[in-house]
């Protein structure tokens, strides 16, 4: 390895070079695959002006991707978490089964008489004759049976792969049943083959929620500071921790889209003064559409990590601009930090200088870097499964993104300002604040926040991940369930950053404490040392000496 290459190692001067690592990951690929993957793997050599990354393009067949499908992005991620909407999957049994409680978007019933439908998996369980003769009648009957059985407020229907191919018109069935039953019934054409990943499903879900739910209920909300949190799914109770902090600050959250949220919250959430966006990838469409129609401004926040949480709270207080709120937020931050500080100071003595690599969906690979930074750890490589260029490089590249053939058929809906409900005062406030240097509709992307010469890999393959571990042996990897045991067999702990390994919350102040303790446990675990038996060691040592003879 040349000295020149060595200078760009994410591990510092002593590690293998990032450029060399990239070469080694690519070399086994057939030519066409090498060309395509090469565009999706970058050395972050100039974080200030991120290089163009290939993202949101089709998956290379056979490569072993982490990616899922559009149905997962729509039903599994965005709409599925709404607990009092009854969700019906129109398709053979698998899709409904695998998305049954497998994402930890937590919920609790708020009022007597409500039903949490997320404990149920409902499906039309399509059989061969439905494929042959069409499944519309089956779907219609299923909606009727669901209504008879549960009397829900609303029913949503999700298309799966075969539905589009056999030509079932789920939307006309939904319209018919909406009229017949007198409740809101709406469908999502989120067939698994649409787009190239979960991302298409997010877009389809945003469009559907906007068309069928947002703005249905105009009841005014009495509160001084009213916001929505967009793109927060309450994994492991994250949204509840955010709720707790906001309640302390005196800020009312009308709707959290869509973790721990009810149907009524969503239909009424256009009453908010501000939208803040957690997961940019999954919900930026909604933020834009709500601003266009109702005049509600939005900006990006991050409640993962101490610095991110503090900065986000302060920015929200500044948006409202009242001293009372600004002071209150500072008091809350001071009180919360008093609890966090001793934990992080203690953990840091063991974690400082350790390394991490993060490969998660469409936002966490970025968000969690803040938490690792809080602990003095270095993120040496990161990437998303299905994010777009704007999530990597920042929203300023949006005008330059070309939609390719694989994603062209995802509907873009036309939105106009609502003549009655567009709120001019929000728009005026936005304008005034912007003049004072406040930024809205902002997201600077992941690469700007990453250190120089780190690796950025989009849609990482199994092979690339293996190679990365072999070359860098990070102290911890943040990834998902499909990778977890692959990584751990190699002697590296893996923190699942989708399911949190069934723990959490990790958001906010209390969440940070949970996360610090978890990473401390994982990076100092003794178990990896037990992987080899004493007699397998190269050194000439035998097992622990025999026990001392009893002295009694």
């Amino acid at each position: 390895m040349s000295e020149e290459n060595k200078s760009d190692s994410p591990m510092g001067p002593n590690g293998p070079s990032a450029a060399e690592a990239r070469e080694q990951m690519l070399e086994v690929y057939p030519k066409k695959t090498m060309r395509k993957r090469g565009k999706q793997m970058l050395v972050n050599s100039d974080p200030g002006t991120p290089a163009e990354i290939g993202a949101n393009s089709r998956t290379v067949p056979g490569i072993i991707t982490q990616r899922g499908c559009s149905y997962a992005g729509c039903k599994g991620v965005v709409i599925g978490p709404i607990y009092d909407v009854l969700h019906i999957t129109h398709g053979p049994i698998g899709c409904g089964w695998y998305s049954w409680l497998s994402r930890r978007n937590m919920n609790k019933i708020r009022k007597e008489g409500e039903t949490n439908y997320l404990q149920y998996s409902m499906s039309t369980d399509m059989q061969e004759d439905h494929i042959v003769f069409g499944g519309e009648k089956q779907l219609e009957a299923a909606i009727q049976e669901a209504y008879d059985e549960f009397k829900p407020k609303a029913i949503s229907v999700y298309a799966t792969c075969p539905v589009g191919l056999i030509g079932d018109d789920i939307h006309s069935v939904c319209r018919k049943m909406k009229e017949k039953l007198g409740i809101n019934v709406f469908g999502f054409s989120c067939e698994g083959y649409k787009g190239v990943s979960q991302s298409a499903g997010h877009h389809i879900a945003n469009n559907g929620v906007f068309k069928h739910m947002i703005g249905v209920d105009d009841t005014p909300v009495e509160a001084k500071y009213k916001i929505n949190i967009l793109g927060e799914y309450n994994i492991g109770g994250d949204a509840w921790e955010i709720d707790r902090i906001f309640a302390r600050c005196g800020i009312k959250i009308i709707g959290t889209l869509s973790g721990g949220v009810s149907y009524d919250d969503i239909t009424n959430c256009h009453m908010a003064d501000l939208n803040v966006v957690m997961c940019h990838r999954s919900i930026n469409y909604m933020a834009e559409m709500m601003e266009t129609k109702f005049g509600i401004p939005w900006f990006k926040v991050n409640f993962i990590g101490l610095e991110g949480t503090k900065k986000s709270l302060r920015k929200i207080a500044q948006y409202f601009g009242e001293k009372e709120l600004i002071d209150r937020v500072e008091e809350v931050i001071a009180a919360e930090m008093a609890e966090v500080r001793p934990v992080v100071e203690d953990v840091k003595t063991r974690t400082t200088g350790k390394t991490a690599a993060l490969f998660v969906g469409g936002s966490r690979a970025h968000h969690y870097q803040d938490l690792f930074n809080d602990m003095g750890m270095k993120v040496i490589a990161a990437g998303y499964e299905f994010a777009h260029r704007d999530d990597y490089e920042g929203r300023d590249v949006l005008p330059n993104i070309k939609i390719d053939a694989d994603s062209r058929n995802i509907e873009e809906i036309e939105v106009e300002a609502d003549p009655e409900r567009y709120n001019m005062s929000h728009a005026d406030r936005k304008k005034a604040l912007e003049e004072s240097g406040f930024t809205f509709s902002d997201y600077e992307g992941m690469m700007r926040q990453m250190a120089k010469d780190t690796l950025v890999i989009d849609d990482i393959s199994h092979h690339e991940l293996e190679k990365l571990i072999e070359l860098y042996k990070p102290d911890v990897i943040g990834s998902g369930v499909k990778d977890k045991y692959v990584i751990e067999k190699m002697g590296v702990p893996c923190k699942q950053l989708h399911s949190y390994d069934y723990g959490g919350p990790y958001a906010g102040f209390k969440g940070a404490i949970n996360f610090f303790k978890e990473i401390d446990r994982m990076t100092s675990s003794k178990i990896w040392k037990l992987a080899r038996a004493p007699w397998q060691s190269d050194e000439d040592t035998s097992a622990e000496p025999v026990a001392e003879t009893a002295t009694v």
Binding site: I63, P162, L165, V196
Partner: protein, 457 residues
């Protein structure tokens, strides 16, 4: 918990609620993992493959590797040939398996992709390296269940690989059915104890329960070797365990290589294990070793010791047909009363068989194929039972109805023992008795008044 569920049962013809089955391809993927150096490949859009891998991983806490054709909308309209050919090129170049086992999804089945033709084309175009193989099974998700997919994949192994050289060897074939790696390990132990030479396929032991030694092996040491799959055509007999999972492969082997077969129920419980051991003894013309008789005796001893806690206790159980047939027989054997039995997999004949098994203890037993956990739950609300058995999804019903609960079947995603210990054979049956009595005793110790707590049970 499950607030929407009431005791009032309405007839449902269209809406499935809380299924007791999943779809075909995951079964094919599981079967393919039981072949040495085999890459399972999902020919469809990639969501299926991600779901199936995740689901198996949650059950085994092990790496589950598989590839996918990653269909886009274009491929879904014009066919997936280019996707599969690209996939095969990548798979052999990057991951170098000995064999790729392709299965399909509802997507590729609806568009009607001709997989054998695509494989043939890939051979002609030199995409498949010399000495390497690609096989396939059609696994439409809208037919049957995950068990059907497992059976179809097993049948495909025979179709593509098994050969008869004309010389019959003193070796027996063993199709274990869809059971755990720990169960496969147990079957091999039993067959060896009886002294029968055998080939078992598939075999996921040492694949989905591999050791942690600091090294990751994409293809672990376990799995039936391709040479052994080929050699199955020369065996003198096939034992197929679990009619639904193993019959198609056994029949195919008879058709193709004239190997006669005998289909047995899965060896769960005393009689079913007896039948298996006896079949081994007859096939091998050997005698059953004393040690195995002692194992059996220890099981019978345990059942008799615990009889007072088991007698006439009502059991609700759901799961997969082959598992249920043997488990329900075992429940009857140990004096319990199966009350409601549900599977999601279709099967009228199976319903009749279960009724026959239960007739001596419960003529009014409720048996439903192609049904669901919601139905089972509603029925329990109106007809209380003493014990619930089923996969992880049963825990919500158990919690709601405050029932002792024994995890049994696939998938178990919230406990660890199933991957380490068998439920097959005499020792497996002992473990089941332990789990059932533990569930009863834990409830009793937790709920009894202080003055009623017993030191000894």
């Amino acid at each position: 918990m499950l607030e929407g569920t009431t005791a009032e049962i309405r007839e449902r013809k269209a809406l499935r609620i809380n299924p007791a089955k999943t779809c075909q391809p995951i079964g094919a993927m599981y079967a393919a993992l039981g072949i040495n150096k085999c890459m399972p490949h999902s020919h469809g859009s990639q969501g299926c493959c991600a779901y199936h891998r995740s689901h198996l991983t949650r059950h085994y806490k092990e790496p589950v590797v598989a590839t996918t054709s990653s269909f886009t909308e274009g491929a879904s309209v014009f066919g997936g040939m280019a996707n599969l050919k690209t996939a095969l090129d990548n798979i052999f170049s990057i991951y170098d398996p000995e064999i790729v086992a392709v299965h399909t999804t509802c997507l590729s089945e609806v568009i009607g992709d001709d997989i054998p033709m695509i494989i043939k084309k890939s051979v002609e175009d030199g995409i498949i390296p010399e000495g390497k193989m690609v096989i396939h099974a059609n696994t439409p998700s809208f037919v049957g269940s995950h068990i059907t997919g497992f059976a179809n994949q097993c049948e495909a192994f025979v179709k593509y690989l098994s050969e008869s050289t004309g010389e019959t060897k003193n070796v027996m074939n063993l199709f274990p059915g869809w059971v755990e790696p720990a169960d496969m390990r147990e079957l091999k132990r039993l067959a060896s104890m009886v002294g029968v030479e055998f080939i078992m396929a598939p075999d996921t032991s040492d694949v989905l329960d591999s050791a942690m030694d600091g090294k990751y092996q994409m293809y672990p040491d376990g799995g039936t070797k391709i040479a052994d799959l080929k050699a199955m055509g020369d065996s003198f007999l096939t034992l197929g365990l679990g009619p639904l999972a193993s019959t198609p492969a056994a029949v195919q082997l008879e058709k193709k290589c004239k190997v006669p077969n005998k289909i047995l129920e899965l060896p769960i419980g005393v009689s079913a294990t007896d039948a298996f051991i006896d079949a081994l003894r007859l096939a091998g013309d050997t005698s059953v070793p004393k040690e195995l008789e002692r194992e059996r005796g220890r099981l019978v001893d345990m059942i008799s010791d615990m009889s007072q806690y088991l007698h006439n206790k009502k059991v609700a159980i759901f799961g997969d047909p082959d598992h249920l047939t043997s488990m329900v027989s075992f429940l009857v054997e140990i004096g319990m009363t199966p009350s409601i039995i549900v599977t999601g997999t279709p099967g009228k004949k199976w319903e009749a068989k279960i009724k026959e098994i239960c007739a001596p203890v419960n003529e009014d037993v409720e048996v439903h194929a192609f049904s669901d956990i919601h139905y089972l739950h509603q029925w329990i609300k109106a007809n209380p039972v003493d014990l619930l058995m089923g996969n992880t999804y049963g825990k919500f019903v158990a919690k709601t109805e405050k029932l002792p609960f024994v995890r049994f079947g696939f998938p178990i995603m919230d406990r660890v023992g199933h991957r380490a210990f068998p439920t097959l054979g005499y020792t497996g049956a002992m473990r089941l008795v332990e789990k059932i009595t533990d569930a009863f005793f834990d409830k009793r110790d937790r709920e009894d008044a202080d003055e009623n707590i017993e030191l000894v049970l």
